[in-house]
Symmetry: D3
Subunit: 145 residues, 6 copies
Amino acid sequence: MSQRVKIGKLAVLLTTLEEEELAPFEKQLEDVDFCLGRAGSMNMQKVISAVETAAKRQQIISEIVYRETHSLYHAILEALEGVTRGQIAIGDMMRTVGLKFAVVRGKPYDRDGEGEWIAVAFYGTIGAPVKGLEHETMGLGINHI
Amino acid sequence: MSQRVKIGKLAVLLTTLEEEELAPFEKQLEDVDFCLGRAGSMNMQKVISAVETAAKRQQIISEIVYRETHSLYHAILEALEGVTRGQIAIGDMMRTVGLKFAVVRGKPYDRDGEGEWIAVAFYGTIGAPVKGLEHETMGLGINHI
Amino acid sequence: MSQRVKIGKLAVLLTTLEEEELAPFEKQLEDVDFCLGRAGSMNMQKVISAVETAAKRQQIISEIVYRETHSLYHAILEALEGVTRGQIAIGDMMRTVGLKFAVVRGKPYDRDGEGEWIAVAFYGTIGAPVKGLEHETMGLGINHI
Amino acid sequence: MSQRVKIGKLAVLLTTLEEEELAPFEKQLEDVDFCLGRAGSMNMQKVISAVETAAKRQQIISEIVYRETHSLYHAILEALEGVTRGQIAIGDMMRTVGLKFAVVRGKPYDRDGEGEWIAVAFYGTIGAPVKGLEHETMGLGINHI
Amino acid sequence: MSQRVKIGKLAVLLTTLEEEELAPFEKQLEDVDFCLGRAGSMNMQKVISAVETAAKRQQIISEIVYRETHSLYHAILEALEGVTRGQIAIGDMMRTVGLKFAVVRGKPYDRDGEGEWIAVAFYGTIGAPVKGLEHETMGLGINHI
Amino acid sequence: MSQRVKIGKLAVLLTTLEEEELAPFEKQLEDVDFCLGRAGSMNMQKVISAVETAAKRQQIISEIVYRETHSLYHAILEALEGVTRGQIAIGDMMRTVGLKFAVVRGKPYDRDGEGEWIAVAFYGTIGAPVKGLEHETMGLGINHI
């Protein structure tokens, strides 16, 4: 892949790696804007809301331009499809998620007309609402912004 | 997460990181069995088949025990839900994928009764069947074996 | 299309056109029974309920014959698939809809054995629960009754 | 099908047949562990919870081994796909279900390496939350345990 | 359930029971029209086609009335959702099905206005295209006709 | 809805109305770029391809900027969800579609930062591959570009 900046890969690493493991990637992270957060819930609405709030508060997207909200929202939904594996309503199905999330904004393509894109990644656990009865899960969504 | 071995995280790193970037994780990889491969196609059947063939040939799962095939198959499907974001038939929708995949088998839990689990990760690109008209995608599926 | 009465097209026009724009179609509307209404909610249950209530109160379908309720219900669900584009649970996903709906009942086919059919159309907006952060959406469902 | 014990068929018969109709199958039922129950709700969470509770209380699965909970959970979800026909969120869509359920655990295969599998069946009605405005529905899910 | 004739239950029994096991239900079967068949394929189109052809040839539905074809088609799709558990495209996903099917037409309700309904049931196996690497599966779809 | 230009409504009217019925909307159409076409097929790939080709050939989107292709592709997929009502693979399910399509590009919002958006609409028939065994269907997808 000849992409200049891999915003998806960076979002994935930001959620899966421990802080010390991230050190080798710090230089690549200088080329993008990003924010990090956590969301733990049985309710997908709260997860979506946590990401939207973090991305706006940390100015990864503009709060007043709808097309940026629209782009982020669809990237979140796509990432949640990975987390819930096709059953986005699964959070309402007696399962709970404990997720770390990252939103990364950058210019992945050399051609200037391609402009900015956004990546949303989740990594954490999904399972019964009982400590230990859970397994890993992750998801990645990407959209033009 | 108190899991002893994070088979999902390792599968994700095996597909997203370059060989030299993987060096810090080599010790963790000693605790699991894994195989790697590539699949590029407009057709999800060929992707599924490539993973099943690699996992059997490299003896990550047994070829003659159906429950292992069944477990791997569902882990692949779940990972593809992430890749296609809820549209597993998308490969048939004028898009093409170029994916690196990893199958990781190990014991993620301390309790011995939990036994072995399997993780399947994909990372690569999805897009129009034209070089450059594509973006990153990934998926992770996990199952007990 | 050789259909005598296009109940789907009429349902679509009833929801998308302003009253004065509908004038040229008044003659076609004489061949069908129809009702109109509005539903605005973050909750798909309320939308379904609003359509069922309107269709029964205005006697487009019979309240006591289950097969008519069954037929209408599936036409509503199909129309909502268009509104939510495959994610019927999306109303529960931090989005809100403001919809105009129409239920049209008529005989679209020349062959008499085909009897009556029902069309449900929605048109309006879907978006963040903030004025202006929304775009147009629509859906059409058709069933035999 | 050369399976020694058809756990799926037995689960289906346990939910569809009246007690006196089940008599001819009593001998086959000696080869498996099973439990029965009922769940009536507009809410899929309650249905899932009813099956999990029954299966644990009657010791069809172990309460403390996550892989058994994981296996049962996915078998329940698969059976609910049949009940809701691809719209697992349908219970939240102004419909109510009245279901009999069965969980059957046994060894369907001759090869010993295949070990134990679990089947979950539902049979009952789905419809408007009004007596009589409903039709039959069923679902079957099967998983290795 | 106060239904006079349980067309869904009869369709399920016709596909799951052996001929000798069906004897106790012969009297109930006199109240309905039904046909039976088999379909084995990796391709869902062939399964749909086999059921449509059988139901028309054995005059369970009329070949020339579209509303009957429409009703049967949706009942088949709903039953296949149970077979494939939400992934109707799964037949194209390196899996093969070997299914027995039944189409049952009758009057399940006491109220005469409810008229005739149709039930489609499938029972058989789904799995890898290798003998023995498969498990049971079933599905039931019901529609007014 | 306070949108300046309703690109979704215009796309819907372009596909549902006859040429003479479109006359009253000609002035509104001056504010947008659009193209029209037809696609008839049992195969969704061909439908997607027909829309992409028309939109590029008539310069509604740029052939060499990936973000425009990406935006159009997702708008097409969303519109097809409406056409197939949640079963995008349905075209492969023994059904055939005969569709008129419109792609409309414009600036729906007053705020200048919102820029251009794209709407894709389909209207036509879906049914058995036999003349007359079909009913109306439509879909609308909207995306920022």
